[in-house]
């Protein structure tokens, strides 16, 4: 896989029904992401159809496929995700490196996979099954964890790098999740970024959260903070991401605030783009 296969998405925001008209009016918006479970392929919300008609790319983002589950992904869930991607004409879909159900119980959220060689075998097999059923490339996202499994053999980035190597899956790097793991688990974001094969990077997630009693809560309902933008800067210092997406899931601010957060993201990208260019020029002289 070469980086030229990865579409340039630009700067985008998570489309949510509560802010649909605000999203439609955001200046300079290149693309949106939609939670795959919240749309039906044959009943697309008019707002998404409107954005599609204007040439805005829509990427479905799955949250309950459970590619990190011990069991193979459910064919019905996969078929549904594939149908959503088809109906939106999406260039790719994304999911998480996480497990969401086990033994008949639902976690209701994303839980970390034990990062062992043995689990890697299972997740790689699950990713291959998903890739076979999906009409477009799949990108996998690093998660915000609040616990670590005992006896792990790989970091999350090493685990993702192995998955890229074995399956050709692409990466969705969530810089807010890297920050979460720094605060909650003491994982160094820059070191993790260095372990990722960034040529497989499809896009980046940025989101706000809040720290309470020394625990970072990746709420997506608070403004984006400086430490999260610093992790984005670490990433942009190494590569120019094909896309960056702001996630906001509640306590929606006025559209101007969302727009300002998108501008702050664009500034980080732009600064590093200029530095990359400058370095290239200097190297030529």
């Amino acid at each position: 896989m070469s980086s030229s296969d990865i579409p340039r998405l630009g700067t985008g925001i998570g489309w949510r029904p509560e802010i649909d008209t605000a999203v439609e009016r955001l200046p300079g918006l290149d693309w949106v992401e939609v939670v795959a479970e919240n749309v039906c392929a044959d009943h697309l919300p008019p707002s998404l159809a409107e954005l599609r008609a204007r040439g805005v790319t829509v990427v479905p983002h799955g949250v309950s496929l459970g590619l990190g589950d011990a069991a193979a992904p459910d064919p019905a869930r996969l078929a549904r995700l594939a149908a959503v991607a088809e109906s939106l004409g999406s260039p790719l879909v994304s999911e998480h490196l996480a497990f969401v159900r086990a033994g008949g119980l639902e976690a209701g959220h994303l839980l970390p996979v034990p990062r062992t060689r043995e689990a890697l075998r299972v997740v790689a097999a699950n990713v291959r099954i998903a890739q076979r059923e999906l009409p477009v490339p799949l990108a996998l996202e690093n998660i915000a964890a609040q616990l670590a499994w005992p006896g792990e053999e790989l970091t999350e980035a090493q685990f993702l790098a192995e998955l890229v190597e074995r399956t050709g899956v692409r990466l969705l790097v969530d810089v807010a999740n890297l920050h979460t793991n720094r605060v909650n688990l003491g994982v160094d974001p820059a070191a993790e970024i260095d372990r990722l094969p960034l040529e497989a990077l499809a896009y980046v997630h940025v989101a706000g959260g809040v720290e309470r009693d020394g625990v970072w809560h990746d709420t997506h309902t608070h403004p984006v903070t400086a430490p999260v933008l610093e992790v984005l800067a670490e990433l942009c210092a190494r590569t120019d991401p094909p896309g960056v997406l702001l996630e906001r899931d509640g306590a929606y601010p006025p559209p101007a605030e969302l727009s300002a957060e998108l501008d702050a993201i664009r500034r980080v990208q732009h600064l590093h783009r200029v530095q990359h260019l400058h370095r290239r020029e200097t190297a030529r002289v």
Binding site: D69, A70, A71, A72, F99, R101, A102, G103, G104, L105, E106, A107, G108, H109, L111, V113, P114, E118, A119, R121, V122, A125, A145, Q146, L147, A148, W149, P150, G151, N184, L185, V215, H217, G250
Partner: protein, 149 residues
């Protein structure tokens, strides 16, 4: 595990994958049961991290219920979060969030018949039982009946 999943074992690689799935299933079941069903903590985990993660899952479940039935936090006010925590204890999520939100509302109705919000919650859950229900459009009545079916 073997009753739930059938693996086609053709060669050594398939056998290793099947074994890895069985082992992973066991570890994940143990952890998830500890986080959402009150099972004992599996060995080797940091108890504080388990506590924070369990609270995180509970908060997420409550937020999704509140998102799906936005009347719930409004009606129940300060009772919502503690009641939801009581409801979740011993009732791990096994199906969808929509069914979960409805089950919680029905449980809250039974559990706190004396609460000030009880009539409001009853009207929310059983709009067709109201004495004015015959004034509702037929479609609304049918929808409410289906939702509770």
């Amino acid at each position: 595990m073997s009753e739930q999943h059938e693996y086609l074992i053709r060669d050594r690689e398939d056998a290793e994958l099947a074994l890895a799935r069985t082992h992973l299933a066991h570890r994940q079941q143990e952890l998830l049961a500890a986080l959402v069903a009150g099972a004992p903590a599996p060995a080797g985990f940091d108890p504080e991290q388990l506590r924070v993660q369990a609270e995180g899952l509970l908060a997420k479940r409550r937020e999704i219920a509140a998102h799906l039935v936005p009347e719930l936090p409004g009606l129940l006010g300060a009772d919502f979060a503690p009641l939801f925590a009581r409801y979740c204890a011993g009732r791990p999520l096994t199906g969808g969030h929509r069914a979960d939100a409805r089950a919680f509302a029905a449980w809250a109705l039974d559990t706190r018949p004396d609460a000030a919000w009880h009539p409001g919650l009853r009207r929310l859950l059983h709009p067709t039982a109201s004495r004015w229900s015959r004034l509702l459009p037929r479609r609304t009545r049918d929808r409410a009946d289906r939702a509770l079916a």
